[in-house]
């Protein structure tokens, strides 16, 4: 041990036990490291100490008064007692004090059975109260949004939830109001809480003040059987406990996994399991007869599929294509890959159903280029077209922690992100001008690296939102970074001139020796990519498959783990592909738009019903455990492929594949005058898609589809906030609610995908040029037709 390391350790005595801890550790941490339990309420080991609850009082020799162990730094030679009569008396007094206003309605409280206040009162409490006066009486519970219920009577004002919003999530979702005796936690004006991490506050609340409205009264902890599994929604792959009672997943809790999600989850992870028990799950195979889907036996459905696959195989190689993979486990993806490559004999496989043909998504492999842990140790983060809290929320928690340690965040986006106040620099421009903006930034970084000082940026390359000074400042920040992480999101990759943007971003990253991450893909896209659901030699990619299908080059299209009817970013491309292909087989859990158009629909298990693994966006393999049984006759995808293999007879080897000429791409005017108002389609965390749309609470958060219009454009077009508008491109039009907001930029209208009722993909075609859009109001605010509530 070096002299310096020895100096960095201190030795103290706690309850007669000698403990050696690194300098800077608190007495609480020292006690914990040797297995001595000190009761706490306000302290949480992922946040700095606060010392609000006074529960952790200990007696330290030579200190005249009792000290809070969570805030007291351990020092050499300290002698601490956690059990002396004075400490015991203090603990009893603190608990008696906390219970003065605590309603003791444990029998009806959802926290009962897993409540730190209950447990610690039992262990350290006085046993009886001397308080005979009336307790405080508040209306209970009050609802703070669709997920969170607040019971102010039970709150002991430990500030954990408030500090979670300040320190961990950075969204300041909950705040303390009023002072002293009447202090309470809440949101401004009692509005619904705005956070994507509010489930964590429920988890860390040491009493039943914050409870889940979804889980409310559904079980006690002793009813639940926890199943250790992995959340497969966004691609981060957070470890979860799924609490199962009576064959139903009642709630999800974070499972500690320091290298992925630590102890946190986002609300999609906490509440995104309702779809598993949805009443409209498919339970039997469906077969189309005379234009309608009828229930059929597995034998009939599989026989039909095998027969069509065999006849397609006989007509020549490569007349079958496979699309999808996002909702498959690694094992399913591997089985699908083997089945189509070796048994059916086709190289046309692709999981990248939502990638446009001319974007940059198809040219790169998706995912992070470093581990999440390494990412969290970066000192400059550049988010390019990546709305991190909407796409990979838990990744943001890591970046937020790094920012708190001194890292800088640079945002390059076509709109204002909710995390913008944490950014050092923000470069904004219209979606179609993002590529030139990134290239200007790359040039400026080159200049900054070369000159060692701020290089003057060319003003003509900088858009409305960003000035040359902003660009130079951002370039200086990036150039000064030692571990620069550039996250390239879907908005950037699939936007106009996405390939140019990728090239500039790559150049920029190389210049500063950083890491370029492709923040693209959800669910198990990364497992599908890893286990071969990509075009083989001579195979077509997803847009190629759709075009080939439309041109009649395919006999059979097989879809599993995807819903191309809503995922393909060109609604018409899917329509014509469906029209051009003779036979469509779909694995689905719900009668989705794709399933409705299918010839055979095979009911499948969803991921929480399967044992297996998934791959997260850093390439880590994570375990899935079957928490519940599937409905009816639904089967796992890989089992279906095994059954089909058995019915397909002798497997064909890899034959030569007839090269299918790609259908001529529509020639779009590139670099022409951009239209006055362009349409931008962005991702959202909570949507009305087939999974989140079936989760109670999350559907309320997703609300109805809306478009964001900048106030300047709104004034020009007569659009009012919350009024209904018609959005029309040259291809189609939809009616949505407008929100006037400066979260978007002038000259662009932002719409979210994922609302199956509003087919935004019908508005656009695969085209490298930005899509012009017209917008006009059709109804004043407050008069939505059909009585729908916003």
């Amino acid at each position: 041990m070096s002299a310096e390391a020895r100096r960095a350790l201190v030795t103290l005595v706690i309850d007669g036990r000698e403990v050696t801890v690194p300098q800077g550790a608190t007495v609480y941490q020292a006690a914990r490291s040797t297995g001595i339990d000190i009761p706490i309420f306000c302290y949480h080991d992922r946040m700095p100490p606060l010392g609000a609850c006074r529960m952790c009082l200990v007696e330290v020799q030579k200190m005249p008064k009792l000290q809070t162990a969570c805030t007291l730094e351990a020092s050499e030679g300290m002698v601490v007692s956690t059990t002396s009569p004075a400490v015991r008396a203090a603990q009893e007094s603190i608990l008696e004090l906390l219970l003065i206003n605590h309603p003791l309605d444990c029998p009806i409280c959802d926290k009962g059975g897993e409540c730190p206040l209950q447990d610690q009162t039992f262990r350290y409490g006085p046993g009886r109260s001397r308080f005979v006066e009336a307790k405080r009486d508040y209306a209970k519970p009050i609802s703070l949004g669709p997920l969170l219920a607040l019971d102010r009577e039970r709150c002991i004002l430990c500030w954990r939830c408030v500090r979670f919003g300040e320190i961990i999530a950075g969204d300041d979702a909950l705040k303390g109001f009023v002072r002293g005796f009447t202090s309470e936690i809440g949101t401004p004006l009692g509005l619904p809480v705005e956070s994507k991490f509010i489930g964590n506050t429920i988890a860390i609340c040491p009493v039943g003040a914050l409870t889940s409205r979804i889980y409310r009264f559904r079980a006690r902890p002793w009813d639940n059987e926890p199943v250790a599994s992995t959340c497969a929604h966004c691609g981060v792959g957070c470890s979860v406990w799924l609490d199962v009672r009576g064959g139903e997943i009642l709630r999800a809790r974070a499972r500690e996994e320091p290298e992925v999600n630590d102890v946190w989850l986002c609300d999609l992870g906490f509440f995104g399991h309702g779809y598993v028990a949805a009443g409209d799950r498919l339970t039997t195979p469906l077969v189309r007869r005379e234009g309608r889907l009828y229930e059929a036996s597995w034998d009939e459905a599989l026989g039909l599929v095998a027969e069509r696959l065999r006849s397609a195989r006989e007509r020549g190689p490569g007349r079958v294509a496979f699309l999808g993979g996002r909702r498959l486990s690694n094992e399913d993806a591997s089985a699908a890959g083997r089945f189509f490559r070796d048994v059916v004999g086709t190289p046309h496989l692709d999981h990248r159903v939502d990638a446009p043909p001319d974007g940059a998504s198809l040219g790169v492999s998706w995912g992070l280029r470093s581990s999440l842990d390494e990412l969290g140790r970066g000192d400059v983060f550049v988010l390019v077209g990546c709305d991190i809290t909407e796409e990979y929320p838990v990744l943001w928690l890591r970046i937020k922690a790094a920012i708190d340690r001194g890292a800088s965040l640079v945002i390059v986006h076509a709109g204002r992100l909710e995390i913008r106040r944490h950014a050092r620099c923000e470069l904004l421009d219209r979606h179609d001008r993002l590529a030139p903006l990134v290239s200007a930034l790359a040039a400026a970084v080159s200049g900054a690296v070369g000159a060692g000082s701020g290089a003057a940026a060319r003003d003509d390359l900088v858009g409305e939102g960003a000035t040359g000074d902003d660009l130079a400042a951002a370039a200086r920040v990036i150039a000064s970074g030692e571990r620069v992480h550039v996250l390239l999101g879907r908005l950037a990759l699939d936007g106009p001139a996405g390939r140019d943007l990728l090239r500039s971003a790559d150049g920029l990253t190389r210049r500063v020796n950083g890491t370029l991450h492709i923040a693209r893909g959800r669910g198990n896209d990364f497992g599908a990519q890893r286990f071969g659901l990509l075009p083989g030699e001579g195979g077509m990619d997803a847009p190629g498959i759709l075009r080939g299908a439309a041109a009649g080059a395919l006999d059979l299209l097989y879809v599993a783990g995807s819903d191309p009817a809503t995922a393909v970013t060109d609604g018409a491309a899917w329509e014509s592909a469906r029209g051009g292909v003779g036979f469509l087989v779909v694995h689905e859990a719900f009668l989705s738009a794709t399933a409705q158009a299918a010839d055979v629909v095979l009911p499948v298990l969803v991921l929480p019903e399967k044992d297996g693994t998934i791959t997260n966006l850093e390439g880590r393999t994570l375990t899935l455990r079957a928490a519940v049984k599937g409905p009816g006759q639904a089967r796992a995808d890989r089992e279906i492929f095994d059954l089909l293999t058995a019915r397909m007879g002798v497997a064909h080897g890899h034959g030569t594949v007839a090269r299918i000429e790609p259908v001529a791409e529509p020639t779009a005017a590139r670099g022409g005058a951009s239209p006055p108002l362009i349409l931008v389609i962005a991702d959202r965390l909570f949507t009305q898609g087939s999974m989140t749309g079936r989760c109670r609470g999350l559907t309320d958060l997703a609300g109805t589809a809306h478009c964001l219009v900048h106030p300047a454009d709104a004034a020009r077009t007569g659009v009012t906030d919350l009024g209904l508008v018609e959005l029309a491109t040259e291809h189609a039009s939809v009616i949505v609610q407008a929100r006037v907001s400066d979260a978007t930029l002038p000259g662009q209208v932002l719409v979210h995908r994922g609302y199956d009722g509003v087919p935004v993909h019908a508005l656009v075609r695969w085209s490298p040029a930005p899509v012009g859009v017209e917008i006009w109001p059709i109804a004043p605010p407050g008069a939505p037709p059909g009585g729908g509530t916003p």
Binding site: P107, I108, R216, R220
Partner: protein, 157 residues
């Protein structure tokens, strides 16, 4: 011979006891035609009691579930709504089942109940023709009117 005499005396003494009891009233009763009264603290079938105003006492807290040594109780709670205020407070038992085949009538559930809802009554005739009929559901367990179980509806807990 003296042995024979001794045995005859023993026989007559025994018959004398028989003869004495022959003319006393019997201690057994002719169940089921005749039923006896049980002790006041007898633990028979369970009742879910009501307050005097008819509101259910049970709040679905599941303390009886966790204390039950035979794991005979199943409770599923639900939320009270202003339109349907089943019990006091926010919570009520939506489903309440006791498996009478498992129950050992220890009375722990009664002891654990924070609202004095569950009580063990005097009824001991709990036979049935099927296993399913011996899983008592909430409508079977809830007393039809306050006080039907024999407990005072006005008591605190």
């Amino acid at each position: 011979m003296p042995g024979l005499f001794k045995q005859s005396v023993a026989l007559l003494r025994g018959l004398l006891i028989t003869g004495r009891y022959l003319f006393r009233p019997p201690v057994t009763i002719l169940y089921p035609e005749v039923k006896t009264r049980v002790a006041p603290r007898f633990k028979g079938r369970h009742w879910l009691t009501r307050y005097g105003d008819g509101i259910e006492r049970c709040v679905g807290c599941e303390l009886c579930v966790i204390v039950c040594p035979a794991q005979a109780i199943y409770v599923r709670a639900a939320e009270n709504t202003p339109e349907r205020q089943v019990s006091k407070g926010e919570r009520h038992a939506d489903q309440f089942q006791i498996n009478m085949l498992r129950c050992i009538f220890c009375g722990f559930c009664e002891e654990a109940c924070p609202t004095g809802s569950i009580v063990l009554g005097q009824d001991y005739e709990l036979a049935g023709y099927s296993r399913a009929s011996l899983i008592y559901t909430k409508p079977m367990l809830t007393e039809p009117y306050p006080g039907a179980s024999g407990r005072d509806p006005g008591r605190e807990v």
